[in-house]
């Protein structure tokens, strides 16, 4: 499998605080990668730098053979890099179906070069909402959704951009056990449909079930990268999570 995403020496500071201190990361096509680390370890900063919400000060990001540095977030989305947010950020004034139409208009439209027919957009919206179990609520607004439904909407909207790589940033935070299982099953289904997924998560049972490879960040540095069973037994990882 070839590397879809290549991150080399990525660094980011906030004032004097080093959020990322030269991270290297390769993600292969079709892979399910788990990214973990304690709070403040730099996971979300890394995602923001990869997706273009933040500009990295050092290092480079290559995606699908193209250099991403200097590109705005929307341009990276156009190239197939999509993300969901740690705290759901739906478009509140729109129906669920309209929430999905936005990425379709601006990303799929753009990528295909030919205008998508309204019927195709509608069909795709309903297909995605069916996939996440929200089809019955297509005409409702996000304020009518439960927490888990909001997370599903977030994933569906990221999927509406037809990404090659999806970054799910703590998509299971605050959910019950059964809801975590639901989201996990959904992410695995998406991966089986050919989408490469990076999952950032604190719920270790979900991470272990999901990940084919696990990367651990601590204080802006990568301290482990490998098979999940090996990584969780790594003394440095154990020390980072449990302490000396």
């Amino acid at each position: 499998m070839s590397a879809l995403l290549q991150v080399k020496g990525i660094g980011k500071k906030f004032g004097g605080f080093v959020a990322l201190g030269g991270i290297d990361l390769d993600v292969r096509q079709g892979e399910r990668l788990g990214l973990i680390g304690p709070n403040g370890s730099g996971k979300s900063t890394l995602v923001n730098c990869i997706c273009g919400a933040l500009q990295n000060e050092t290092g480079t990001v290559h995606f699908d053979g193209q250099q991403m540095d200097g590109l705005a977030a929307h341009e990276r989305t156009h190239r197939g890099l999509s993300r969901s947010f740690q705290l759901p950020r739906p478009f509140h004034s729109m129906t669920l179906a309209d929430n999905l139409r936005v990425p379709m208009y601006y990303t799929v439209h753009k990528r295909s070069g030919t205008p998508l027919h309204a019927d195709n957009i509608d069909a795709r919206c309903h297909e995605l909402l069916r996939l996440v179990g929200l089809e019955a609520k297509a005409r409702q607004r996000p304020r009518d959704l439960t927490q888990v439904e909001m997370r599903k909407l977030e994933l569906a909207r990221a999927m509406a951009a037809e990404p090659k790589l999806l970054i799910a940033d703590e998509a299971m935070a605050g959910l019950s056990h059964s809801e975590v299982e639901e989201i996990l099953a959904l992410l695995i289904r998406l991966n089986e449909s050919g989408i490469t997924i990076i999952m950032i998560e604190h719920i270790m049972s979900a991470v272990m079930k999901f990940s084919q490879r696990l990367v651990v960040l601590v204080t802006g540095k990568k301290i482990a990268d490998g098979k999940p069973e090996t990584v969780v037994r790594d003394p440095e990882v154990v020390r980072a999570y449990i302490g000396e």
Partner: protein, 338 residues
């Protein structure tokens, strides 16, 4: 309803309004009508940036005045061609100038649209109150420039002599009213078109959550620039015939506080989520102000706006349209009382 059908229906309604006022035969109604339609355009234009994308513009008066003063500059130029240009090329310009008002409106739209684009480029990285303050600053800067620009009359103002009548329509104020009605139809059609388009979806995404919009592939900066330019252009177009309407234009009247306040208050009262809100707000508030003008005093206008705004913020924060939509939605919900 398709956009061209909507534009046709709106034109028919505008024609009916004009015919009705002609039949009534009171000249004051054309003056009042002109002002109300002018506010419909200003409120609709403000709403394209403020309502659709959520960027509150306190500098509406600057765009309106830029349109008005671009007309004054062209009129002054037409009146002084022989003094300003060498004899060789003066006859050529005499053959073009003075420009008819529809051309002045297009020029004003271009000037104000460019100012809007420039303002957007400089300020759109600011958000919320910071953006609003920057737009207010633009109005102050532009007013200072105009006050010190003698060519357009400077602080003492400029007289614009309007013709007594025009062919077909007759009375010049009625002609200006017709122009305003046409502009109003154009502004409403543009706003409605945006609302139902890919552009409108992008604007709404920016208003709801800019970071999420960008992550969904929306080129937020580009869209905001389109919104500022379009909003500015429409405001400038509303200002272009103003020197002819008022006869004497001075900075205090062109940059008047009422333009900035009304163009925000009217969409807020009517509702900012769609094109109907600014129309309702402008008709309601504009008519009330005109009634207050003739029954109490013009100085109560801003007081009226303030009181209504406070009332609506408490009772209907989403404006009249939002209030109606909420009621309808509540009725549709299962378990709600009929």
């Amino acid at each position: 309803m398709r956009n061209h059908v909507f534009a046709l229906v709106a034109l028919i309604v505008a024609a009916l309004v004009f015919i009705t006022l002609r039949l009534v035969g009171n000249e004051y109604y054309f003056v009042a009508g002109y002002t109300i339609v002018q506010y419909i355009i200003l409120a609709t234009a403000w709403n394209i940036l403020g309502g659709y994308t959520g960027y509150v513009n306190f500098g509406s008066a600057a765009f309106f005045a830029a349109g008005a003063y671009s007309s004054v500059a062209l009129i002054t130029f037409a009146n002084n061609i022989d003094d300003l240009l060498p004899g060789g090329i003066a006859p050529f310009f005499h053959s073009i100038f003075p420009l008819p008002i529809p051309v002045l409106i297009v020029v004003a739209g271009l000037v104000s649209g460019l100012i809007g684009y420039g303002m957007g480029y400089l300020t759109l990285r600011l958000r919320g109150a910071f953006f609003a303050i920057a737009t207010l600053a633009l109005a102050v800067v532009l007013q200072t420039l105009v006050v010190n620009w003698e060519f357009v009359g400077g602080s003492s103002g400029a007289y614009v002599i309007r013709p007594e009548s025009v062919p077909l329509i007759g009375n010049y104020v009625q002609y200006l009213f017709v122009l305003m009605l046409v502009l109003g139809v154009i502004a409403l059609t543009i706003a409605r078109m945006i609302e139902r388009s890919k552009l409108g979806a992008g604007f709404a995404a920016i208003r709801d959550d800019e970071l999420a919009a960008e992550a969904s592939g929306v080129p937020t900066l580009q869209l905001k620039l389109i919104a500022t330019a379009l909003s500015g252009a429409l405001m400038g177009m509303a200002g272009a015939p103003f020197p002819y309407f008022i006869g004497f234009l001075q900075p205090q009247s062109a940059f008047g506080l009422e333009y900035a306040v009304n163009s925000i208050a009217m969409p807020m009262i009517g509702g900012t989520m769609n094109w109907v809100g600014p129309l309702i707000g402008a008709v309601l508030l504009g008519t009330l102000q005109q009634v207050a003008n003739v029954t109490i005093s013009s100085s109560v206008n801003l007081l009226l706006v303030g009181l209504l705004l406070i009332g609506f913020v408490i009772v209907a924060p989403n404006g009249i349209v939002g209030l109606v939509q909420d009621r309808l939605r509540a009725r549709k919900k299962p378990g709600s009382k009929p």
